[in-house]
């Protein structure tokens, strides 16, 4: 069986990182709106 773990770890880290970054961006955008209003 080939050792492909590095690609697996990298894919999960980046994918979950993208989702987390988007969730954070939504939170910050809404917070910024509340400050504006």
């Amino acid at each position: 069986m080939p050792d492909t773990a590095v690609y697996y770890h990298l894919a999960y880290t980046i994918a979950l990182g993208i989702y987390a970054a988007y969730a954070l961006s939504l939170h910050l955008r809404r917070k910024q709106l509340r400050v504006k209003s």
Partner: protein, 223 residues
Amino acid sequence: MKISWLPAVAGAAVIGTVIRAAYFTPLEAKQGAAQKIFYIHVPAAWVAFLAFFLVAVASGIYLWLRDQRLDRFAESSAEVGVVFTTVVLVTGPLWAKPIWGTYWAWWDVRLVSTLFLWFIYVSYIVLRGAVESPTLRARYSAILGILGAFLIPFIHLSVYLFATMHPMPILGKPSAPSLPNEMLVTLLLSLASFTLLYFTFVQSRYDYAVERDAIAARSGHDA
């Protein structure tokens, strides 16, 4: 502190899916750990297709009813769809490198048409930012949102229509799924949990659009 049930359930489901994929799903004999990328790549592709399909549906109904809520939903779903397509375009090459020996193949119709889909909905977001009039913005983006979704069946069928390195569908095919039970359960759980994550993101993005439009209406100019 109020915790809405949808983000909490979606977050728990995604964490549970990742734990199941990592520790409770067997390794595939030929591909090793890289095969597990499948549990994050396939749901992202499914959600991206769902997101853009719903953009087209909401946009079509918007052009008929001119209800601003549909435009806000389309706007939200398109942005979330771009996020999920980005995940597809990152995780796919990371699986391809150890299995195919290359990250990307420009001649491969499935890969390039998926990239094209991403560009179309990125341009949808750019278009929304470029048009000042809310009515024109909604109308132009509804048309682009509908046209972009025509790529979805083409991308799905591209593996049958063209010579491509991309694997054939596991679930979305006429015959029964060709996957051992333990892997199939993990895949179905991941499809469900990332679909929940999609609805969480869209709900939050929609709420943001409502607040933004309310502020714009109070201050007397467009958002």
